[in-house]
């Protein structure tokens, strides 16, 4: 890609071979105007941020399809098709430069681009989808003849196990090594036999998305190398400042550095847990006090939250030690648990300073036997959730509103409504992060009684 200042731009001719959904396999040969460089990237970033929001609100796949279609029309549409495709490709490659520069940026970009690709693919007709599969050069053949006959009954069982009635059962299946379709295997949406998965035509998306993600992941590593060795220096007066500004603009605070509202000390922690913790953390905190123990998932979720809230490492060690020694004794605490706490604060191992979990991460976690982490709006049964909400002080009307959101799987909206009911105020931005809940809550409480600890 060549970035130029001239008014006219030459359009590459090989773009037309991938009609509407580019795979971004190789950087294209085209010239880009400097203004477009930044503007195209910003528009695409708006789309990716919209995708991120949609995922955080746990939208189902069909809702995500609609969302992606809307976002794309709103931000990426241009007067003619080839212009649109150029913008698509240019913006993707510019954002690669922006997001290749650290592990966290890479991870976010990879997730969002993959999700975007997945839903744009799903919106395509089946013939176009098959063409795209061909583009990737995947060697999978359809299952036919005697082999298909021997599998038919079980293939039907798989389809029916996910609610498909017999007449809808897909009649084309591809035989694919199970490693290529991990998400289909995980959700038991494919028949497995001797290491092969039988993927229906309608499930092609899974196959393609795995390829897409794998390719993009490797590409980001190469891009990073090029950036650090040549591009950054070469472009320091032109593209580099643009690239560096782009990544900080849309990600929102990650609460890895606590601010002035959020310094708590050990003696206040019980009171603060009742007054300002969101339900997920309150539950973990209560269970910790009750059982003097939490399993790994709970320790991570609560531990990082407390770090974001302003609990210093020494206080954290004292806090966890106070509880755990009641159950396991101080020697075991020092040997088995203290290390992990220091690890969370970036004082051990590879010294990553871990960031507290956002709602999106907590909602998709999977608490099992003996666990108390996760999102109560998602993981609690109705009865248990209602009991917990009533302990937080919700009236029965307020509770109904919250439960209504829960039944429609709008877990973060449910938490937002809870917030609004507890503090008697509206929260327009919605709750996206437990630490955000905490900070907003502290703001409100402190404005009411500035001097007293809350």
């Amino acid at each position: 890609m060549e970035v130029i200042r001239s008014q006219k731009r030459t359009v590459s001719n090989d773009v037309v071979s991938t009609p509407t959904l580019p795979l971004y396999l190789t950087a294209p040969h085209m010239e880009v105007r400097l203004e477009e460089f930044e503007l195209f990237a910003i528009d695409r970033l708006r789309v990716l941020k919209g995708v991120s929001d949609g995922l955080a609100r746990a939208r189902n796949p069909n809702e995500m399809d609609d969302l992606v279609e809307t976002l794309w029309k709103e931000h990426m549409r241009l007067s003619n098709v080839s212009e649109m495709i150029n913008k698509d490709i240019i913006s993707h490659f510019v954002l690669r430069l922006v997001y290749c520069r650290s592990d966290e940026l890479k991870k976010w970009f990879l997730s969002m681009e993959t999700a975007l690709f997945r839903h744009r693919f799903r919106l395509k007709k089946i013939e176009e989808q098959r063409a795209i599969v061909g583009e990737f050069g995947l060697p999978y053949k359809a299952v036919i003849g005697a082999e298909l006959e021997s599998l038919k009954e079980r293939l039907g069982l798989v389809a029916r196990s996910h609610g498909q009635i017999s007449s809808d059962v897909e009649n084309i299946y591809y035989k694919v090594p199970f490693e290529e379709v991990p998400d289909l295997v995980a959700s038991r949406r494919v028949l497995l036999q001797k290491g092969f998965a039988f993927v229906a035509g309608t499930q092609l998306v899974s196959l393609v998305v795995t390829q897409f993600r794998s390719h993009l992941s490797k590409a980001l590593i190469l891009t990073n190398r090029k950036w650090t060795t040549t591009i950054r220096e070469r472009e320091k007066d032109r593209l580099t400042p643009i690239v560096e500004a782009l990544s900080t603009s849309y990600l929102g605070p990650d609460y890895s550095q606590s601010n002035e509202y959020a310094d708590i000390s050990l003696k206040d922690i019980d009171q603060v847990s009742k007054s300002s913790f969101p339900l997920c953390m309150r539950h973990l905190f209560e269970k910790l006090r009750e059982d003097h123990h939490l399993k790994h998932g709970g320790r991570m979720q609560l531990g990082l939250f407390l770090k974001g809230v302003g609990l210093k490492l020494d206080d954290a060690l004292a806090f966890w030690r106070e509880e755990f020694t009641k159950k396991v004794g101080s020697e075991r605490f020092d040997k088995e648990y203290a290390y992990a706490i220091r690890h969370n604060y970036g004082k051990e191992g590879k010294r990553t300073d871990y960031t507290p979990y956002a709602c999106s991460k907590i909602i998709i976690s999977a608490p099992g036997a003996g666990d108390h982490h996760g999102c109560p709006y998602r993981h609690f049964s109705e009865d248990n959730l209602k009991a917990a909400l009533s302990r937080m002080g919700l009236s029965s009307r307020g509770m109904e509103d919250v439960m209504d959101k829960v039944r429609n799987r709008h877990y973060q909206l449910a938490c937002t409504l809870t917030f609004e009911a507890v503090y008697g105020t509206s929260c327009d931005t919605g709750i996206n992060h437990p630490n955000q809940y905490f900070e907003e809550s502290q703001k409100i409480l402190k404005s009411k009684t500035p001097a007293a600890p809350v």
């Binding site: 295997v185 995980a186 099992g368 036997a369």
Partner: protein, 451 residues
């Protein structure tokens, strides 16, 4: 028989009553003797070398040296990132440290010993490259469905839960995933570990391991939800259907009912009623069972009767709601389907206890289990450290690894099984693979010379 008697029986069978019984199944002195004479160093080394023994030009002579081990010493001192160049270096390290526990980690891109040299460059060059696909099943995860024991205890009544878990998972690993080189090991106290050692398995990414673990996952829950198994849809996935028909149904209606009597008391049956989503059916059955509370039948017979009643009631109301269709299966799955520890399987860098270690709390050796004969396996009859020491003392039996009499020694049988059923077929397959990838490499370089 009470639990106590069962536990003691295991010991009494082996030890001659005329000699004083050796107290304390586990102590450092015995451990030294064990690691001095009995631990199968060569076999473990051969296994983890996967054919890279230096004899073939295609071998990677540094392969074994890039494997991470960890030692847990007396006083809970924990040493990670240990690695050994070869079998004798490993043997020396174990014999000088006498670890209470040895864990096996992944094979890394560089020698774990030298990882710091690569740690602070921008991209992480010290990464896991190969690692067996592993599973950990622990009976404490079944505490909500076993009534004979809880926590660290295990007995002949609840151990069969592990047996059925092995059968379900082993069958699936072979039939569905096509794996062949699978080692099942007793964890020493209350569970089992599974090591899948095929080359394909060792090269799986974390995402793929996660997918396999999720494929096996059925039980989803904690104390905050009442219904922990949800089998939606109009039919079961063939894997679940096969597990149900071949193993779970018969186990539930046979052995489980006999040992656990899961309907015999109000507290017990309320738990099951909570899994039926229809309130009317719940009250209907509750009414029947409250009235029959004083019947003269035994616990087991009562339990069986109530199960039949439940099935009949659900069968007649089957068309009422989709969720009721799979209710019977859901109940069976809740009580019998394997509950694996997902976190253990998902990450390549997770460490897992080595086979043939000795469990510090029970003194038992972590011996392999034959999945084709797992019904016969009795965790309370596994040789303990003190039994092994006693054997050495009384018979003067030295553990001669090539001895034909190895069958007669307590540990010999296990080692022989490890070799013949697992190690030999594995090594054969590894050699073939090394041979063929070497040939491919040679062919490629030949091509590259042509103009």
């Amino acid at each position: 028989m009470t639990r106590e008697e069962i536990e003691n029986n295991g010991e009494d069978m082996m030890i001659d009553d005329s000699k004083p019984k050796i107290e304390n199944d586990f102590n450092v002195h015995y451990l030294r003797i064990y690691y001095g004479n009995l631990f199968p160093y060569t076999d473990i080394h051969k296994w983890l070398s996967y054919g890279h023994d230096g004899k073939h030009p295609g071998c990677d002579e540094y392969y074994f040296g890039r494997r991470e081990f960890s030692f847990t010493l007396e006083n809970d001192v924990y040493l990670r990132y240990k690695s050994f160049k070869n079998a004798s270096v490993m043997e020396d390290a174990i014999k000088s440290n006498f670890p209470y526990k040895i864990d096996i980690g992944a094979v890394y891109s560089v020698d774990p010993d030298k990882r710091h040299a690569y740690a602070h460059s921008g991209t992480n060059l010290f990464t896991p490259v190969e690692r067996e696909l592993v599973f950990d099943i622990d009976i404490t995860d079944y505490d909500d469905v076993r009534y004979c024991c809880s926590g660290a205890d295990v007995c002949s009544k609840c151990w069969p839960l592990m047996t059925v878990a092995i059968k379900v998972i082993d069958t699936s690993l072979r039939e569905d995933f096509g794996f062949k080189h699978i080692l099942w090991v007793f964890s020493g106290r209350r569970g089992v570990h599974c090591w899948v050692c095929d080359a394909k398995a060792r090269r799986l990414t974390n995402e793929q391991r996660s997918a396999v673990a999720e494929y096996f996952r059925v039980y989803k829950g904690n104390e905050n939800n009442a219904k922990k198994v949800d089998l939606m849809g109009h039919s079961l996935h063939p894997f679940l259907a096969r597990s149900y028909v071949d193993f779970l149904k018969n186990f539930f209606e046979g052995e489980l009912q006999a040992t656990q009597s899961i309907f015999s008391s109000k507290e017990k049956y309320e738990k099951i009623l909570g899994m039926i989503t229809d309130e009317d059916i719940q009250s209907d059955l509750r009414g029947k069972w409250e009235n029959s509370a004083r019947s003269s039948l035994s616990e087991e017979a009562t339990s069986r009767l109530r199960w039949e009643q439940l099935k009949k009631t659900l069968q007649s109301k089957k068309n009422k709601a989709l969720s009721l269709r799979t209710c019977v299966e859901e109940i069976v799955f809740t009580f019998t389907y394997p509950r694996i520890d997902l976190e253990v399987s998902k990450q390549m860098n997770h460490l897992l206890k080595a086979p043939f270690c000795v469990h510090p709390k029970t003194g038992r050796v972590c011996v392999p289990i034959d999945p084709n004969n797992c019904d016969e396996f009795d965790p309370l009859a596994v040789p303990t450290l003190s039994q092994l020491i006693e054997e050495i003392n009384s018979g003067g039996l030295r553990m001669d690894v090539d001895d034909d009499d190895s069958d007669r020694s307590l540990l010999g049988k296990s080692i022989k099984f490890f070799r013949s059923s697992f190690l030999e077929p594995l090594l054969k397959s590894c050699k073939e693979e090394i041979e063929s990838s070497y040939k491919t490499k040679i062919a490629k370089t030949k091509d590259s010379f042509s103009w």
